[in-house]
Symmetry: D2
Subunit: 346 residues, 4 copies
């Protein structure tokens, strides 16, 4: 039985991790970390956990946690994990960091986009970017996993095959993304109140969102070019879900069937990736609560562009689910363990 | 492995049954019945089932089904199950009927409230009302289960202990209920369009809703009196969830602690019933996707009334989840098998 | 041109008052009070007001306001208006208080339910309860109006005719109410975040909500009895709207037509009250954005009860709209001025 | 008093037209056309109109209508208006067509994208495209107005200044659009049910949506080039609102301030267009219920692209409001008459 500790268990991603781990056969949670709710019963914060979780919330104590846990998940604001990790900790436990601290290899890029000084740049090199479908083998041997951001996960998986095959002009990539409101976190802010979000849609972080360099880095690896792109996220009045609509110019004429064959080649053995049938657009309702990513593409012969679409649950494949998938890889378990969740509809 | 057939698998309750049975270790679905989508791939109707269900929808053929299936679920409009069941069928398979056909013992009451002639009244007597927490032993031995209605499940469980103990004046019971929109079904009706339901709330079926006699019958058994009550359902702009707010005059003064002790006595060994802490009101968000029923009570010393509250997921404990719970009882499985679902939030 | 000042203009009710007064021919706003946003442009707080309002938010200065304004609206937390009002102020300007400070005649009841010491009980006597349809003549002559609470407005108007006519047993009145989330205010609280409210419904303030004594007082006047009742509000995932479902035992047999005739007699000349056709239940979507209250009743011969239903927009007739209606009465304007708003659907 | 007739008054756009015309001082509705609800009281179809509209729905009789009405609005499916209009009708009344029949000058393009034969191509030439801010003078003299589509209105207004000034590479224009569900109409379709739309987002009509050629035509006029672009609409779980996020490569380096100055130059005298402050993104909540279009731009120096954003209410400026604006121009009224609606929030 894997002993798991969670720092930041009372945010939305942390709570989703609890939900998934409670249904995981090989793991048990030994530490419900939450600086905001120390000594409060976890199920008093999240009523869904009544009778399922008896524990109280604990302070963040990485030293003690490293002793008690085989794996530590940090579902915390940027900067915290980097400030807690050190060689001693990593020699005792494995870490899956759901924040951005170890996702970007160039510490200068990280510090510029996040406006933070990185407290442990010496571990950036060894950290593995936990996009399981792409870095599976590296993940298995890692001590420190940088769990990908929600938007980067969906964007990268949607664009990866065509970028890797060199079929799209990387200088023309535009990603228009839409996210449910759980992505905005559980902080008490006027802008996230029900009446402010409901019945509205807006773009935010236009040309400045922090997930931009993360996506650019991953697509640069895929294409072998230095990618600079536009990424525009939007806030949607729904709880969960991310939808990606990405555009790129095709370098050469290609049919839908040819493009589809490429996606199938990359993903047909991937349990969590579902390449849809022709003309079926991904919809977030079909993946809710699950670790699936639904993908499809559309070729537009009029503009010689391809539209690449992806849908997933931002809290599952975009956060906690992928973290569990990474844990499974780290510990040699079956990759789907605890994640064979049928999407819940409606 | 139990072979399960579903008639009406493309309604919301039927689809939820599919979701639950796919995650059930001892059952497999052998028949996806759907008169509306014959020969269409099930996953083309419900995109969440992509890569999870390969089968096509089949017509309703009870004879064939009875041969192939150990258990048949009928998630169909009122009247259909009654028209299909007969001694031959029941000798070959067990039936869990999610419609109202076998819930009400007095066929005259059924025919009056439902405006239908009952096609097989001879089986009403043997049918067992599948409210597991109350009729557990009878269910285990049944061939034909009348799976309770969503409102009656939540209402009965919320009121049962005080009714049974004779502590409330049954002639004063008023049930004000609220349901998410999946309860209205998947039929293409203007009244259920997004823009008609969203941003609104209304009562419907006032003093005439068909679940009224079902609730009255169950509470009559509990109290030993002929109960006549008010039941008013409301349509709420959300997908899932039922909330019950029930009122009754107390026959004698009683403290919260005394009342709470009674609920605990009835329910403390019930896995699926969670009696909440003092002053914590049930909320549908805390049970979503699960088979739990959250209950609590409030004593109002000013009016000498008790307010009894219950929340559950109308598609799970109110339909498909309870059906699976009944199946587990029928086949001697652990009652929680396939139903240890952690509620999904948000 | 009436000069209007608003204290608390950046709450939801205050902002709605701005919306209504901007469309009012005989009034102009001279003071946008907001302690939280002093010196910030009003349209930077509420983007809907871009190009429509140039002014900045001002601190609360009742003395100065009384000099500049013919009417002061206080859309503020309980206790503030009572702490600001005095004889000098009232000699210079009229006040419409949207808080509860002057609604309840018995200062002891106010202090008990609100947990506050009343700072100017000497004005409670002269304050007029601004339920226009009932206290119209008194309002016209007042200096200080206690604008009714949202729930009390809808509840009182729904029950008033039968209470006044002595047709219902007042000891049996139960009010089950449902409100959109704007009623919870614009404070930054976790409980009011989008993801906490969306896809859920709950009761709150059970047997203890502060609007209870206000409703009881008004229905006591109507019935000539000391009324004690149950009032249970619920939070609904929608922006606006209040729905009331009230229950009472009939003192004598009465047909729907007789009851309807009584409602018509009380309300047929009331522009803002719409008594619906037989069997049509009020729905909040049909009144959104308007000052209308839609009412109907259902007689249940089985239980000998009447179900009284009402729907209105909590921010209009339940707050700002009724405040403008009161202003119109105070200044001898046509009562509908600025309030002939067609409900917006969908 | 202008006598207005509406064909198709029971769709969402038709009903919104009724709402606006009821609040218009110079117009009265003389014909509530609705083939689906002939002889039914209009207020029985739309409860918001109770006590405001007494009339019944009438069949579509263009001859009679042309006699009785000074202006006929056709808020009908594509093809109907083209089949009803003729010289005799146009000699007696003016027509504002809310369908697409007369929007596209090239009948071949219309017939290809709409899959319909055009029944009166002889009137396409004389029809004026009713985008008021751009074609104001032509509109004033027209008999037949093609009221623009919702997406084309917002897209064209957002892109027009930079297209007209030749600052963007028109071959790189990509429009990613998001719409509330009222845009999908009031037809009883499973896909538009509450539970199907709620808690989900999807693209639809990718590379094939019928508004594409309309936008291309308008931007071709603006830029003087033959424009071919990508337009991708998405369905958002909200009632009203359209948001446009458009991307284009800049032909030369330009600062935000320079770009902003161009928008101001084009729109500063336009009452209904609000160019927002730097870094303020348009949000649909701020325009709901009004005829405003909120615009802003963001320059991305990294990619040398401009992101052009627009928000409006699809039923007002995107349909009924613009139709009334056109009517005002046709009849020499003040352009804002009946349209000085303050956006309703929340």
């Amino acid at each position: 039985m894997i002993k798991a500790g969670i720092i930041g268990s009372t945010g939305y991603a942390g709570q989703e991790l609890v939900r998934l781990l409670l249904q995981h056969k090989e793991a048990e949670i030994v530490w419900y970390g939450s600086r905001s709710y120390i000594d409060k019963r976890y199920s008093d914060v999240f009523g869904n956990m009544t009778k399922l979780v008896d524990q109280k919330c604990l302070d963040d104590n990485m030293e003690e946690l490293a002793e008690e846990a085989d794996i530590v998940f940090t579902a915390t604001p940027q900067g915290l994990c980097a400030s807690l990790v050190n060689e001693d900790i990593l020699s005792k436990t494995k870490i899956i960091d759901l924040s951005a601290d170890f996702r970007i290899k160039d510490v200068g890029v990280y510090e510029k986009w996040y406006g933070l000084e990185h407290k442990s740049p010496q571990f950036i090199g060894e950290a593995v970017y936990g996009l399981c479908e792409i870095n599976r083998e590296k993940i298995k041997k890692a001590r420190l996993i940088a769990n990908p951001g929600c938007y980067p996960t969906c964007s990268t998986l949607a664009i990866y095959p065509l970028a890797k095959e060199g079929l799209i002009d990387m200088s023309t990539v535009i990603i228009d993304a839409k996210s449910g409101t759980s992505g905005a976190g559980r902080g008490a802010k006027v802008n996230n109140l029900y009446c402010e979000v409901n019945e509205s849609i807006k773009a935010y972080g236009v040309a400045s969102h922090r997930h931009t360099p993360e996506i650019e880095e991953q697509l640069s690896y895929a294409s072998g070019e230095q990618v600079v792109l536009n990424f525009t996220p939007h806030l949607v009045p729904m709880n969960r879900g991310i939808l990606i609509t990405a555009y790129a110019n095709l370098k050469k004429e290609i049919s839908y069937e040819e493009a589809k064959a490429i996606y199938d080649q990359y993903y047909e053995n991937e349990y969590f990736i579902r390449v849809l049938e022709k003309d079926v657009c991904p919809e977030t309702r079909w993946v809710e609560g699950s670790n699936f990513v639904d993908l499809n593409i559309k070729i537009d012969p009029r503009t010689k562009r391809v539209i690449m679409m992806g849908a997933m649950d931002n809290l599952v494949k975009g956060a906690a689910g992928q973290a569990v998938q990474n844990m499974n890889l780290l510990f040699g378990l079956e990759e789907q363990e605890g994640l064979r969740l049928v999407p819940m509809f409606p």
